[in-house]
């Protein structure tokens, strides 16, 4: 998906309407004037949400209802059959595990490596800092898909073809640049003076960072890892190229795309599989959303 992480957003000041308020009580005229705006908002809401709703709704419909000339907008007789088909499809559990291993491995690795680099860039002054940052920015725009062939050759030469560790390494590298950039943003929001004060009180530099800055950085770390998680969880092209012979090492996106081909006519099962595939992202998102927003607001206090 959007492989490009947005920069940590600034605190949202309560958005101000360009026009000052005219009446305290929303008058009838005012409400009427706002009607087109609210209708437009509803249209955007519906357009955005409908495909996702349709996926989940189809997953719960019995096949007869899916294959009817007039679509039903609410599942009349909800069923879990399609989920059962998807879960029982050969290899499902294994692909699930592969995806989780690869994604978590890549996210953790890039978080640790990026934290070190972000600290160097954000807290220390050194020669080559600007060149390094430019390298990171450029890497963020790297055309990863153009590197499919050399990556395949490198994997072949190092006996890492069909291995999940190669995939983990690739995802680590694809998520690393934006992890550094976003962590640097979050780090800039934590006053360096706090760390210095801890050092004056007798902490070593590393201990000051670990005890003072790291806890304050936690929301930022979570937000950043969420972006990384989504990127790695979704990746298709490399998973499709680097895992060829060993079908057991496939990941969910590849499985889902082939599932849609194999079960081409079974739209219920395909949509159930897609829903299951999307589930962790949704859960992670719901779980982290609060923390992410707090992190962004906190991060912007310093500007």
């Amino acid at each position: 998906m959007n492989p490009l992480a947005p920069r940590p957003r600034q605190a949202r000041r309560p958005p101000q309407a360009p026009r000052p308020r005219q009446a305290r009580r929303p008058s009838r005229a005012r409400r009427l004037r706002r009607l087109p705006l609210n209708l437009a908002a509803l249209a955007v809401l519906a357009t955005a949400a409908f495909p996702v709703y349709w996926m989940v709704a189809t997953a719960f419909k019995p096949t007869a209802e899916i294959q009817s000339a007039t679509p039903t907008f609410l599942p009349l007789h909800p069923t879990l059959d399609h989920f059962a088909t998807a879960v029982r499809a050969p290899g499902f559990g294994g692909y699930w595990r592969n995806s989780l291993l690869v994604t978590l491995g890549a996210v953790l690795l890039s978080l640790v490596v990026a934290l070190l680099a972000a600290y160097a860039v954000g807290r220390l002054r050194w020669r080559g800092r600007r060149a390094f940052l430019l390298l990171v920015f450029t890497a963020q725009m790297a055309p990863w898909e153009a590197l499919l062939i050399p990556m395949y050759v490198i994997a072949r030469d190092t006996d890492m073809l069909d291995s999940l560790s190669m995939l983990t390494l690739v995802y680590f590298m694809t998520t690393l640049p934006f992890t550094i950039v976003t962590l640097r943003g979050f780090l800039a929001a934590v006053p360096a003076e706090l760390e210095e004060a801890a050092q004056v009180d007798g902490c070593t530099r590393a201990a000051a960072f670990r005890r003072v800055t790291l806890p304050l950085l936690a929301p930022g770390l979570l937000a950043t890892s969420l972006f990384g998680f989504i990127t790695a969880w979704n990746e298709f092209a490399f998973a499709n190229t680097l895992i060829i012979k060993n079908q057991d090492a496939r990941t969910l996106p590849v499985w889902l795309s082939s599932f849609a081909n194999v079960f081409g006519t079974d739209w219920g099962a395909t949509m159930a599989a897609a829903t299951l595939f999307m589930l962790p992202v949704l859960l992670v998102f719901l779980f982290l959303q609060n923390k992410v927003t707090t992190g962004m607001t906190a991060g912007a206090v310093k500007g």
């Binding site: 998906m1 908002a41 680099a117 590197l147 072949r156 849609a260 395909t270 992202v281």
Partner: protein
């Protein structure tokens, strides 16, 4: 901590130790593949070389072969058109949605934003599969809706059998997926514009359009540049959606450069030509983004 007068060696090399893992990773997983790609593009590198190794250099043969192939130019033109159309739609719609969000009441805004975030979080492959289902010929809800609206030509219409229709579905898919990022980023920017600017514009008698053009656009210009260049990169490189939906078909109508490079490499086993094609893809993208890169360089310089 040691307290020698000149900074001790430990302090001086600390930053370099901290960035060392990043540099090692980038060297092995980014720079080396880029170099390797470049080398392959100057070699004879087909199936046999992939299995056994021992490729021979052939100079610019691959580039000559590509650049003299009219198909390459068709694909390049299509890629540029695809990128321009998508970027225009995404930035335009994103701006409209952002402007709408600013004016909405609190609850409605929250609802719309949640929906946008939901779309943003939807995995590419899941979204792609859903769009295949929405536009499915017999039971797809889009055909049903168009039929209900009186467009009976769309009864059982096979979207993925017609080149123009497949292209349209892909544009809709990519735009649907990308508008949330643009809208939310621009909305974030809009909320930072001080109200006073709008008030003085209003006192000076500016209309809605003038206010937008003279106040909003100049203030948000850097953000617009960022969003636009990110969307250019993203739609230009877009691969998974096209590959899963159409594999570049029907009749090559949706083959863009990344798909093209993948096809000649994976299907025809011409890895050398594929590498040359991806090198050219990168060069074209860099040329398109040279101003953005310059700006970033300047900004970092000012900050350092």
């Amino acid at each position: 901590m040691p307290t020698d007068a000149p900074p001790p060696l430990r302090t001086r090399i600390r930053p370099y130790l901290l960035i060392a893992p990043t540099l090692v990773g980038a060297a092995y997983l980014l720079l080396y593949p880029v170099a390797r790609n470049l080398v392959i593009s100057f070699q004879h590198f087909r199936m046999a070389e992939l299995i056994r190794g021992g490729a021979t250099f052939t100079g610019f043969d691959n580039y000559t072969e590509l650049l003299t192939d009219p198909k390459f130019w068709t694909v390049t033109a299509r890629t540029l058109g695809w990128t321009a159309l998508n970027t225009l739609l995404i930035t335009g719609l994103g701006t409209l949605v952002a402007l709408m969000l600013v004016r909405l009441g609190r609850r409605m805004r929250l609802a719309v934003m949640s929906a946008l975030v939901l779309v943003w979080a939807t995995p590419v492959i899941a979204a792609t599969t859903v769009f295949q289902w929405l536009f499915q010929s017999r039971f797809g809800v889009v055909n049903w809706a168009l039929d209900q609206l009186g467009l009976h030509g769309y009864h059982d219409y096979a979207w993925f059998a017609h080149s123009g229709a497949t292209f349209t579905v892909l544009v809709l898919l990519v735009v649907w997926q990308s508008v949330p990022f643009a809208a939310l980023t621009l909305y974030g920017g809009l909320t930072t514009i001080p109200t006073e600017l709008y008030e003085s514009a209003r006192i000076d008698g500016a209309g809605a359009w003038q206010t937008f053009r003279l106040v909003t656009v100049p203030v948000l210009r850097p953000l617009f540049a960022l969003v636009t260049s990110l969307e250019v990169i993203w739609t230009f490189k877009c691969f998974a959606q096209i590959w899963v939906v159409s594999q570049g078909g029907p009749d090559g109508a949706t083959t863009t450069l990344p798909v093209y490079a993948f096809q000649i490499a994976q299907n025809l086993h011409k890895y050398d030509l594929g590498s040359a094609a991806s090198t050219l893809t990168v060069l074209i993208l860099l040329a398109a983004l040279v101003t953005t890169l310059r700006r970033m360089h300047r900004q970092e310089g000012a900050e350092a």
